[in-house]
């Protein structure tokens, strides 16, 4: 699954640790999502979407960008 988390995090100027704290997860979880080695649960995807004020579809997709 393709993820724009790294790109959006950069736009907000947040570090992985800051985003992890906002989401209530470890930095490793954020890193694994950004490097597309881990697909977040729906609950976590909603939290990510809320943190970036975007829709889930705008952040995650199954197609190559």
């Amino acid at each position: 699954m393709k993820s724009r988390v790294r790109e959006l995090r950069g736009e907000h100027g947040w570090s992985q640790a800051e985003l992890a704290a906002r989401l209530g997860v470890s930095r490793q979880t954020v890193n694994s999502i950004e490097t597309e080695r881990y697909e977040p649960s729906l609950t976590l995807a909603f939290k990510i979407a809320a943190a970036f004020q975007q829709s889930i579809e705008a952040i995650f997709s199954t197609e190559e960008r």
Binding site: R27, Q28, T29, S32, P40
Partner: protein, 148 residues
């Protein structure tokens, strides 16, 4: 070793905690279990308790402390985030089949020729389960290791 498992093998980006801030059930459960386990070994060798029920009571003394440690471990796991739980699950996914192979192999050996209980018994097998779990954690943690 059992005491350090949840922290030593936790995800590397979790903040390292001092021993003081660790779950006291993990700390004291492990310390008391280890001490009582060694003590029971010495007492059993010495044949204390004769052949009566006291022998069983003495042999089971480490169990409450191990259960204490186990409760601490479960609390640690509940506090993990979803990736950390996934890593634990994948570790068990490695450990469980390895355990099956070990027990089946021992069973086949046992069928061919009875094993010496001084070398192979329940006292020995559980230590391999810990080893397999550690191997599983190593494999799972490598998959989700930090990448820039």
């Amino acid at each position: 070793m059992l005491y350090f498992l949840p922290t030593f093998f936790s995800v590397p980006t979790m903040s390292r905690r001092s021993i003081r801030s660790l779950n006291p059930l993990l700390l004291w459960g492990f310390v008391l279990w280890a001490l009582s386990y060694m003590a029971v070994g010495v007492v059993a060798e010495a044949g204390v308790g004769g052949s009566g029920g006291v022998r069983y009571v003495v042999a089971l003394l480490p169990l409450p402390f191990f259960l204490m440690w186990l409760v601490g471990l479960l609390r640690e796991m509940r506090a993990m985030d979803e990736l950390q739980r996934r890593i634990q699950l994948e570790a068990l996914g490695v450990a469980f089949p390895l355990t099956l192979v070990l027990i089946m192999t021992l069973g086949l050996f046992e069928a061919a020729r009875p094993l010496n209980p001084d070398n192979w018994s329940f006292r020995h097998v559980w230590q391999f389960l810990v080893l397999f779990y550690v191997i599983g954690l190593f494999v799972a943690r490598r998959r989700y290791r930090y990448e820039a």
